[in-house]
Amino acid sequence: MKSPYDDAEVIALDGVSKRYYLSSQRVEELKTALLHLPTFLKASRARQEFWALRDVSLTIRRGESVGIIGPNGAGKSTLLRIVSRLAPLTKGKLTVRGRVSPLLELGAGFHPQISGRENAILNAVLLGLSRKEAKAKLPEIADFSELGEFIDQPMRTYSSGMYVRLGFAVAVHVKPEILLVDEVLAVGDAEFQRKCFDHIEKLRQNKVTIVLVTHDLESVKRFCDRAVLLSHGAVAAEGKPREVVDEYLSRHFEFSASPSGGGDS
């Protein structure tokens, strides 16, 4: 069944490029810089550019699940960082409509000295809820994370599994409209993983847009409506997951079969 919002663009990248500079010996100490002043000045002028993304144009619609695939260093994570506004763009334009919840690294803002409950509230506000909303969501978060009485213990007493479970619980309960997922679903035991997938599936049915970055090609084929292949920072292919994955595999295969021939072009 099509909803009237299906055509609404929630993420639009328009010719987005991102440049980083490969830092050629950053000055660690003033003394070194002063002693080697001529070399230092020359080096800083000739710093090497690296384009992590080149002229990427992409639109993602409401409720769509898009898989971003590509070899290491293709720019997948940079793309997610730009959409979640952790990195400014060098060129182009980005439009985002809706609350973005990044599942980039779970529990990034947790402080070990305070309780899981307080951390969960602060984290939910960091991700975009108001304090009132966060407090209202807390029972659900506590329930989902299966922490039981540990929720009131300082987080330094948590196991790494508990840490990540709370992180995931917060991230998916902040009423995200756009969920950015970067290879984090390999958390917890098998049962909790299934629970995460079930929950993401539920969000998907509620028209939450999902952008998934992964090396797990099978899950892209199974889960995504569309796939985008990035190569050297540019969009190399885009379309049905099965076709794009095949394209990726054939390029990758060609590349590894004849290392001397330029596989990607």
């Binding site: 490029s17 980083y20 500079y21 960082r81 979640s84 506004r85 952790l86 990195a87 400014p88 763009l89 060098t90 060129k91 182009g92 334009k93 980005l94 439009t95 985002v96 409509r97 809706g98 609350r99 973005v100 990044p102 980039l104 690294e105 990034a108 803002g109 402080h111 000295q113 305070i114 307080e118 509230i121 602060l122 506000v125 960091l126 991700l127 975009g128 809820l129 108001s130 304090r131």
Partner: protein, 274 residues
């Protein structure tokens, strides 16, 4: 809610609408509360330290300055009162700047993973220290009463006014120092020493008149001199600040503008430097 970022904006912030402003306020509140809580956590006295520390600090200073060095208030107030009326606001000033200096660099993991209005971090250092300052006021009041200095009606207007001036000044300085510190970590150590120097340049442990005679109006080049003098006049003599507080107000405005500009310019480069 729609947000557009283009390369030409150079920064990551978006125009604040009302809902976001409310959320930023919530964030500031939670962050400050966390900082207050973390301060004396896992100590036996816990929250009592908030009050005990300024009091002990005052005793040490009173012993060293009054008993050993024999400094006196020209206005005739008991030395402890004379000192505390200036030392408590100064402690808020100094510790805010010191704690905010590392507020970006110490929170690198957070800044690299989640986007939120980042100015909240240095600002929460200032507000949590303000909280400690406000809690030290009852101690001052008790001591004032003990020497028959009764807080007057001018406090009602003077206190919020001076808090506002000092808060804006601190907000600007905190943004400035914290932003630069991302790129030059030496700054947080330098600031520690500079604050020590600033303490001695400001009439806190000695009366303004002691240097005014020798240096003349040069004293007023230090914006904190006029602000501290205003605090003292309010606490001891229930006197509202007059026009001679202008250096502090002007400095607050300059600090705020400079801090905002520097922060907005540098924010986009945090991801590379942190």
């Amino acid at each position: 809610m729609e947000a557009i970022w283009a390369a030409r904006y150079r920064d990551l912030s978006e125009r604040l609408n009302l809902a976001q402003l409310a959320r930023t306020w919530d964030l500031l509140l939670l962050m400050s509360a966390r900082e207050v809580k973390l301060r004396y956590q896992e100590t036996v006295l816990g929250f009592l330290w908030t009050m005990a520390k300024p009091l002990l600090l005052a005793l040490v200073f009173a012993f060293a300055l009054n008993y050993v060095l024999r400094i006196k208030d020209p206005g005739g107030a008991p030395f402890v009162l004379f000192l505390l009326a200036a030392l408590f606001p100064w402690t808020w000033f100094q510790s805010s700047i010191q704690f905010s200096a590392a507020s970006f660099s110490n929170n690198a993991p957070l800044l690299k993973k989640v986007y939120f209005p980042r100015f909240v971090l240095p600002l929460s250092a200032v507000t949590s220290q303000l909280f400690h300052f406000v809690l030290s006021i009852p101690i001052l009041v008790v001591l004032l009463l003990a020497w028959d200095y009764v807080p007057g009606p001018q406090w009602l207007l003077g206190f919020p006014l001076l808090v506002a001036i000092q808060f804006l000044m601190l907000a600007g300085l905190a943004l400035l120092v914290a932003s630069f510190n991302v790129f030059l970590r030496d700054l947080e150590h330098l600031v520690e020493v500079l604050m020590m120097l600033w303490l001695y340049l400001t009439p806190i442990i000695y009366p303004l008149s002691a240097v005014e005679a020798r240096l003349g109006n040069v004293v007023y080049l230090n914006p904190m001199a006029s602000l501290i003098q205003a605090w003292r006049d309010l606490f001891l003599y229930d006197k509202l600040p007059g026009l001679d507080i202008w250096p502090a107000v002007a400095f607050a405005a300059v600090a705020l503008v400079a801090g905002s500009i520097v922060f907005r310019r540098l924010e986009g480069q945090f991801e590379v430097a942190l």
